[in-house]
Symmetry: C2
Subunit: 167 residues, 2 copies
């Protein structure tokens, strides 16, 4: 993986907002940026979540859920005019004692190059600044090993996660 | 369990705030009330959480975590002058797609009479009004059966819960 810093701070901030940061890119031709403030095109976000197989949710509800999230991270393929959303994750929580990570997605075309790992590292670094007691997530069967490799503790001491679905 | 409605709506609202509701009581001498708006005495809340064995957290951080919670529920032992906090739970989340329940506690002196079950039912009813996709929680080993009996789905399809602790 080649880690190049090809964008000036001024460009980063102008296009991607305060605190945006380049993501180490697996490819010289590709400049990738993490942003917590560049607004999402909700149709583009829906396409990304569709591509990784999340169930479709009404755009209006997604917008409100994003508004109520503690943190939203976009991973953008840089283009001066048309940056493209290639990764996403968000957190909810009180931001003081706990936070929970949801909807982690990297577009299939960009998978296999360590970007999911970079995305998680970026989020945890942002959350670390909040001084939380713990960060939690619910892992689908296919990604349990992914989180385990990154040091997540799975079900410590017999904890279980429980889901309740309104009828 | 005797379910009596001994308080007038006016009294309920004056002491416990808008939307407060009596909780079916296991004992004629005992009037219990659910409230989402009566402010907590943080030392009293700390005592309650201590009594059920939660780890102690600085009051200042607990206050901010409560401020950032989606829902806070107190279960009060009614007294016209000095209501006493005997149960508690809170939720975080976006309030649109998901919510997570934390810190469910019933004081040991009031356990074994179905109040934990009542508290969960009350919370789920409140969350149901939000139209969420799902509600989640992390269950300690000792209470897994408690949630299972109430219809919670544990680790569906091999899902795992993962915890990350800042170093």
């Amino acid at each position: 993986m080649i880690s190049s810093c090809s964008l000036s701070t001024e460009t980063l901030q102008r296009i991607y907002g305060q605190g945006a940061r380049e993501c180490p890119s697996p490819n010289e031709q590709l400049t990738l940026v993490f942003s917590q403030s560049r607004p999402f095109d909700l149709l583009e976000l829906e396409e990304l979540l569709d591509a990784v197989g999340w169930s479709r949710r009404p755009v209006r509800r997604v917008r409100r859920a994003l508004d109520n999230s503690l943190l939203k991270v976009g991973l953008w393929r840089h283009d001066p005019k048309f940056p493209r959303l290639v990764g996403f994750a968000r957190c909810t929580g009180d931001g003081i004692l706990e936070a929970t990570i949801w909807d982690v997605a990297v577009h299939p075309l960009y998978q296999g190059a360590g970007l999911g790992k970079q995305l998680m590292a970026y989020i945890l670094e942002s959350l670390k600044e909040m001084g939380l007691d713990s960060v939690t997530l619910f892992a689908d069967p296919g990604v349990v090993a992914f989180y385990e490799r990154q040091g997540w503790v799975l079900e410590p001491n017999g904890h279980r996660c429980a889901f309740w679905y309104p009828k």
